[in-house]
Symmetry: C2
Subunit: 140 residues, 2 copies
DNA sequence: GTATCATTTTATAATCATTATAAATACCTA
DNA sequence: TAGGTATTTATAATGATTATAAAATGATAC
């Protein structure tokens, strides 16, 4: 536990981010909960143990993490921004029934297109929607 | 021109959508302008020739088109929903400098992942961000 | 052709995620 | 400890989207 907190502090320091209590907790949340939480989910969970936490802090911190490449935005629905501490290229599948988001591997080479040979690519996103196996079986 | 309108009416009828003037014009806009417009862009352009047009109609109609698979949502930024009359699987590249959105081909087979073999996939989305050749050269 | 009913559109208000602002707090250095 | 900077907080403002109810349009039966 202490070790883990220490790791989080190190991660922040490497990115020249001052490790405030709020930042450590938000980073910890992202790293431990790998369920691509929305801003609101992060806020509502963390405010339980940090009653003075402000939504603005959550927004500011996530934006800071994004700019520092500690987290990436997962845009699947236009009305909820999610965050993911796993910044490598991978796909997201969202079940339209239960809302769960699953990761899946993406072959980056396969995504290459000649049409983009003169483009400077800074971000690659792949997401699918549909019904996950669990919901598919239940509904049948 | 008349022929084209007639085609649009046919497209709507095939989906069992009554071809009202507003629906024809919005579909025409999507089909002719292939620039993945936002709802606001569609509204602001069309209200010029249809002064009584309401934003609600644009929202309702686009939602109807989406459900009827006449258009697909292009979610790239979380604060602007775009629409595309091209419903086949293809990628979108958004230039972070000029905002232009480019289409590029995507090899659907290459996107296949064993991890999703038990999932029912209804929608596949690929989008990249970066700098387009034009902006890249200008800024250099 | 007119009355009736259903559909579509419109205008407006409500909602909700996000951003902006300014004050309060915490942190750092001299 | 004092003074200055960075961070957090509370609150208000913004802006896209959705909800609601009235008005307009269109279709059908008589």
């Amino acid at each position: 536990m202490n070790q883990k907190i220490k790791d989080l502090v190190e991660i922040l320091k490497e990115k020249n981010i001052k490790p405030s209590y709020q930042r450590i907790k938000i980073l910890e949340y992202l790293v431990l909960k790998k369920n691509h939480p929305t801003v609101d989910e992060i806020f509502k969970d963390l405010v339980k143990e940090m009653p003075t936490l402000s939504r603005a802090t959550v927004y500011n911190t996530l934006d800071l993490f994004k700019r520092s490449e500690l987290a990436r935005v997962v845009t699947i629905e236009d009305n909820e921004t999610r965050y993911d501490a796993e910044v490598s290229v991978h796909g997201h599948f969202k079940c339209e029934n239960c809302g769960t988001i699953f990761d899946f591997p993406v072959d980056e080479k396969a995504l290459y297109s000649d049409a983009l040979k003169d483009f400077m690519i800074t971000e690659k996103n792949v997401y699918f929607k549909g019904i996950c196996p669990k919901c598919h079986n239940t509904n049948k």
